[in-house]
Symmetry: C2
Subunit: 415 residues, 2 copies
C-alpha cells in the first residue's frame, strides 16, 4: 500500500505565533495515525519546488520539542515572497505540474500552507488545480499575520501577541515619558501599512487605567499635519507629557503615505536620500511648530518577534487552529482557510471552522469606522472589548542562562 | 524630642531598576525604627527646592506596594536635569542654604539621592556643604544607570535589565532575520553615547549558542565606514543574513559622532534638517555600496524601561543596595556612594560597600580595551563572563487584564 504523507510550509512575514500553528499541525498529524510521514518544505513554495524538504515528524520527536517550537518566534521553516503565476498561463502550468510531481514523489495527501494574504492565494490556486485534475490532494490554508487584516476570520494568529507587546511597551513608555516635569511629546510609531489594528491596540493601557496614550492616528483616517499639531496643542492644556501613537501607514487625503508626502527627496553629502518614517517626521514637526521636548520611538521588528511577551491566548489558539486544520483535511475538506468565529467577549469564546479560501485572497479587513471616535484620534469601548481578550495570558518560555530557548530545525538534514 | 526623618530623591535618566532601590531604602528605613517619617521629593532637587514632598512611608504601606514599586520602570518620584551651582559661588550659597533650611524644616537626618553621574555630583557637593557647616545630615548616593559607566562600582543597577532586554531582543531579531533565503544585513542600534557596555551585551546570544551577531561596533573603537563595509562583505561569505550591533555613540577618528560626520545639514521641503541615527545611516550605506536587502532597528527607549523583561539579579541587587545605603548612613557614613565589588563570576558573588563620592562624579568607565577582540568587532570570553551573571533570572510581575501592574504615587498628596 502506498504511503500517505503530510506536507507543511510557511510563508509571508514573521510572527510570534506562526510556529505554534506548525506545532499544532504536526501533533495533530501524528496523533491522527493517518500519515506515514510529516514533512516540512523550507522557505515556502520556493523550497518545495527545489525539494528542500525536512522530516518534521522525526525532528519534532516529543512534546518538549513541540512546546519549544510553539514559543519560538518567526517561521522555523523559513519564508519566501513567492507569488504563483496566473492560472492558465504557460508558466503556471509548469509550476503546478512540478508541484504535483513533487507531491506524488513524496506521497503527499494533505498540504498545509501557513501564511497571510499571498499565501492564501497560492493555496487557493493549488487547490483549484488539484480539483481540476481530479487529484485527491487536500490543501488547507492556516492564517497568520500580525496585521489582523484577513477577512472572514474574527482575528488572525500572531495579532494578539503583537498587540500585547505594543500595549505593554506603550505602558512602559508612558512611565518613561512622565519622569520630567516639563512639557513634552512622545510619538510611538507602530506597524501596519494599511490597517490600524496594531495602532488601536496601543490604546489598551488607557482603557485599563492609564491616562495615555492621548491621541492615535490610524491609516483608516485621512491624516492632516495641521490637525495633528492642533490635537497635540489641545492635549497639552490637559497633560504635560502628551503621548501619541501613529501607524506607519497613515496617509494624507491624496492617498500618499504621510511620511513621504512632504519630503524633498534631497540627498546628503554621500548622496543618500532622506526618507524617514512618520514618527521621526512628526518629531521634527513638533520641534519646529510647538518647540517643546519631543522624541519618536519606532517599535519596529520586535513587534512581530517578541516571543518573550507572547499572548498565551494567541499561542494557544494558533496551535489549536493548526490541529483543527488537520481534522478538516482528514474530513475531506480542501481549498479552505481555517477561521475563528467569536461567540462572545465576556467570557471570551471562539469557535474554529473553515471558509472557502477564495473569499480571503487579496481581501483586506481594516479597522472598523464604527469603532473610531474622538474625531479620528481614539477607539471606543466596542473596539476595546474586541481587543482585550486577545492579549490575555502569559506563556512560560523555557530559559537557559537568562535567555529564552528557541527551537531550531536541522535544515541540512533533507529527506 | 525632635523628629528624625529620611528623605529620598531620584534623578537622571529612567531605568528599570531605580524604583527597586527606592523600595530598598524605604523598607530598610522603616525596619530600622530610627526614623519618624520617610519622605520623597518629587523631580529630584527641583522638587526638593519647591517643597514638592510626599510621605513615602504612608504611600508604601505594605510589602505588596513595595514589591509593585520595585517592578515599576522609570523613576516613580520623577526626575530632573538639575546641576548644582559651583561651590563658593553666590548662587551656590543660596541653593545650599535653601536645602539646609528645608531639611531642618522637615527634620531630615539622612538624604539618599538615587541617580547617575550628575546626581552623584549633587550629592557630593551637598555632603561637603553640610560637613563644612558642622551639620549631621548624612548624604548617600545610590548609583543607577543603564549605561554602566560609573567608576569604582563593578556595575550599576539598571544595566543588567537593559542588557537582558538587548540580548533577548537580539536573539529574537536573529530569528526574524533568518527567515528569507536571501543575502541581507540587519543593523541593530543600541544606546550608549560614550560607553559600549550595552552594545557588548548584544553579543550574549552568540556566546550562548547562536551564530550571531556577527559584528559589533563600540564607541571605544574609532569607526570607519570603509572598514564597516569590508567587515560586512567578509561576513557575507560565511552568512547569508549578516547581523550587526552598533552603538549610537560610535565616532569617527576625528571624534565626531559617525552618524553626524557625513551629513550635509540639508533640509527638506518643510525646512527640516536630516539627522538620522547611525543605524539608519549604515542602512543607506549598505543599500548603496552592497545593494542587498537591509534594514535597521533602533531599540530605543524600551531598552531602559522594559520592566516586563527585567533581570531578577539586577532588581534584587538594586533593592539590596538601597537597603545597604540606609545601613551605611545609620552607621555614620556621609559623602559616600554605594558600590558593588565582584568577588567571583562562577558562582556569581558580589559584596556591597561604599566609596568616597568624590571619586565618582564626572568620571566615566568605558568598556575595557582588553575585552575587545576581532579587530574591534567583538568581545572576548572575559567580557562575556563579566556580563553573563548580570542578566540572570526572571521576575514575576503582577498582571491585570494581560498588562503589568505599575505602582504610581499620589503626587498631589504633598506633606
Amino acid at each position: 500500500m502506498s504511503q500517505k504523507n503530510l506536507m507543511i510550509a510557511q510563508s509571508g512575514g514573521p510572527t510570534t505565533a506562526i510556529n505554534a500553528s506548525l506545532a499544532g499541525i504536526v501533533e495533530a498529524g501524528k496523533n491522527s495515525g493517518q500519515f506515514d510521514h510529516i514533512y516540512g518544505a523550507l522557505n515556502g513554495v520556493e523550497g518545495l519546488l527545489s525539494r528542500r524538504i525536512i522530516n518534521l515528524g522525526e525532528q519534532l520527536a516529543d512534546k518538549h520539542a513541540l512546546d519549544l517550537l510553539a514559543c519560538t518566534p518567526a517561521m522555523a521553516l523559513g519564508s519566501c515572497r513567492y507569488r504563483m503565476p496566473v492560472p492558465g498561463s504557460t508558466e503556471a502550468k509548469e509550476i503546478y505540474a512540478q508541484i504535483e510531481q513533487i507531491f506524488e514523489e513524496y506521497h503527499v495527501s494533505c498540504f498545509f500552507y501557513i501564511g497571510g494574504n499571498d499565501s492564501m492565494d497560492t493555496a487557493h490556486k493549488l487547490s483549484l488545480y488539484f480539483s481540476e485534475r481530479g487529484k485527491d490532494i487536500r490543501v488547507i490554508g492556516v492564517p497568520k499575520t500580525i496585521d489582523n487584516d484577513l477577512p472572514v476570520t474574527d482575528h488572525t494568529p500572531g495579532f494578539g501577541s503583537a498587540a500585547k507587546f505594543i500595549a505593554t511597551s506603550m505602558q512602559e513608555i508612558i512611565r518613561d515619558s512622565e519622569v520630567y516635569n516639563v512639557q513634552s511629546v512622545t510619538i510611538v510609531e507602530i506597524m501596519g501599512r494599511n490597517a490600524g489594528w496594531l495602532t488601536a491596540a496601543s490604546c489598551l493601557p488607557r482603557y485599563l487605567g492609564e491616562h495615555a496614550p492621548h491621541l492615535i492616528y490610524l491609516p483608516e483616517v485621512p491624516f492632516s499635519f495641521e490637525k495633528f499639531l492642533e490635537d497635540v496643542t489641545r492635549e497639552h492644556e490637559k497633560h504635560k507629557a502628551v503621548i501619541v501613537a501613529v501607524s506607519e501607514g497613515v496617509r494624507t487625503p491624496d492617498g500618499k503615505y504621510a511620511a513621504e508626502s512632504n519630503q524633498s527627496g534631497k540627498t546628503d553629502a554621500f548622496g543618500h536620500k532622506y526618507l524617514a518614517g512618520i514618527g521621526k517626521y512628526l518629531e521634527e514637526l513638533v520641534t519646529e511648530h510647538i518647540g517643546c521636548k519631543v522624541r519618536s520611538i519606532e517599535l519596529n521588528v520586535p513587534q512581530r518577534c517578541s516571543a518573550h511577551l507572547a499572548s498565551k491566548t494567541d499561542l494557544d489558539e494558533a496551535r489549536l487552529i493548526g490541529q483543527k486544520a488537520v481534522q478538516a483535511a482528514l474530513a475531506g475538506e480542501t481549498g479552505k482557510m481555517m477561521v475563528f468565529k467569536r461567540l462572545s467577549n465576556q467570557p471570551y469564546q471562539v469557535s474554529i471552522s473553515s471558509c472557502d479560501i477564495g473569499m480571503v485572497a487579496f481581501q483586506e479587513k481594516t479597522f472598523p469606522e464604527k469603532w473610531i471616535c474622538q474625531n479620528g484620534t481614539f477607539i471606543n469601548e466596542e473596539g476595546f472589548e474586541y481587543l482585550l481578550p486577545l492579549i490575555q495570558g502569559e506563556i512560560s518560555q523555557e530559559k537557559q542562562n537568562g535567555l529564552p530557548v528557541h527551537f531550531l530545525f536541522q535544515k541540512e538534514k533533507l529527506v
